[in-house]
């Protein structure tokens, strides 16, 4: 369970996961923030106003998946590095996952890295599709990797060597 070992279970994840129907429409954010902590930068980060916290900054962020266009601007803004963008329409057998990355060296496009699950275990290889590094991202890079579709809900980190 998350509170014992820092690993979100499938049941816990289900409370924030967009629907299968939404996944069929294109990239969408998954906000894996399941605790009521005082924090709200994600709300103002979204240009589509898809993230809300109705009762204030200790509310859990709620994603309006229909409004979300999967742009990924929320990914580098989250202080907890807890937001990911998943595109299940990327290809027939693979998905594209965007995650925040703050370790040197930053991977290059085309590089093949290890895809790690939430326990740090390598579960697949992942090709780097895109790396976004903007000045306003303030040293948090957004790395997009290609992973097998059946690993799309597991892979949340990468290792280079």
């Amino acid at each position: 369970m998350l509170i014992n070992d820092g690993i979100i279970t499938r049941e816990e994840l289900a409370t924030v996961l967009p629907t299968d129907e939404r996944f069929k429409k294109g990239p969408v954010a998954i906000i894996e923030c399941l605790q009521n902590i005082p924090c709200d930068p994600c709300v103002s980060a979204c240009p589509s106003k898809a993230i809300s916290m109705k009762s204030g900054i200790t509310d859990r962020p709620k994603l309006d998946a229909a409004r979300c266009i999967g742009c990924g601007l929320c990914v580098p803004r989250c202080p907890g590095l807890a937001i990911f963008v998943l595109d299940m329409t990327h290809a027939a057998r693979s998905a594209a996952l965007s995650l925040p990355y703050e370790i040197q060296p930053v991977p290059k496009i085309g590089q093949v890295v290890k895809g790690l699950d939430r326990s740090g275990k390598q579960v697949c290889e992942a090709k780097v599709l895109k790396v976004m590094s903007a000045k306003k991202f303030d040293k948090t890079h957004v790395v997009t990797i290609e992973i097998p579709k059946d690993r799309a809900l597991d892979v949340r980190a990468i290792r280079l060597a």
Binding site: E102, I103, Q104, P105, V106, K139
Partner: protein, 103 residues
């Protein structure tokens, strides 16, 4: 493996000029202005002194001048090396016990 960080994802480190100093008679290098204990640590030295009664090896703990980093520097004892800046030519020795203060 050097303990100095070359490539940090968020920070860049401004260092003073490289200087040499003596530790237990051996020539060592560090950067001017960094704490003596940090320069020693980067050079692989963690044992800074021995305790007065049981002669136990000690290093630093807090790095803000409230712990156990006392060493003999340029002849003066009880110098808190975790906050004292390194200067060219300093003579640094391990302190044994309480050290002796010259009258």
């Amino acid at each position: 493996m050097s303990l100095r960080i070359d490539d940090h994802p968020v920070l860049s480190f401004k260092k003073g000029r490289k200087v040499s100093f003596l530790f237990e008679g051996e020539k060592m290098e560090g950067f001017e202005g960094e704490p003596i204990a940090a320069a020693l640590h980067a050079a692989g030295v963690r044992l800074l002194r021995h305790s007065p009664h049981k002669h136990r090896p000690r290093g630093f703990f807090c790095a803000i001048g409230r712990c156990s980093s006392m060493m003999e520097v340029d002849g003066e004892v009880n110098v808190m090396t975790c906050i004292t800046p390194l200067k060219e030519g300093m003579v640094v020795n391990r302190q044994e016990g309480h050290g002796v203060i010259e009258p």
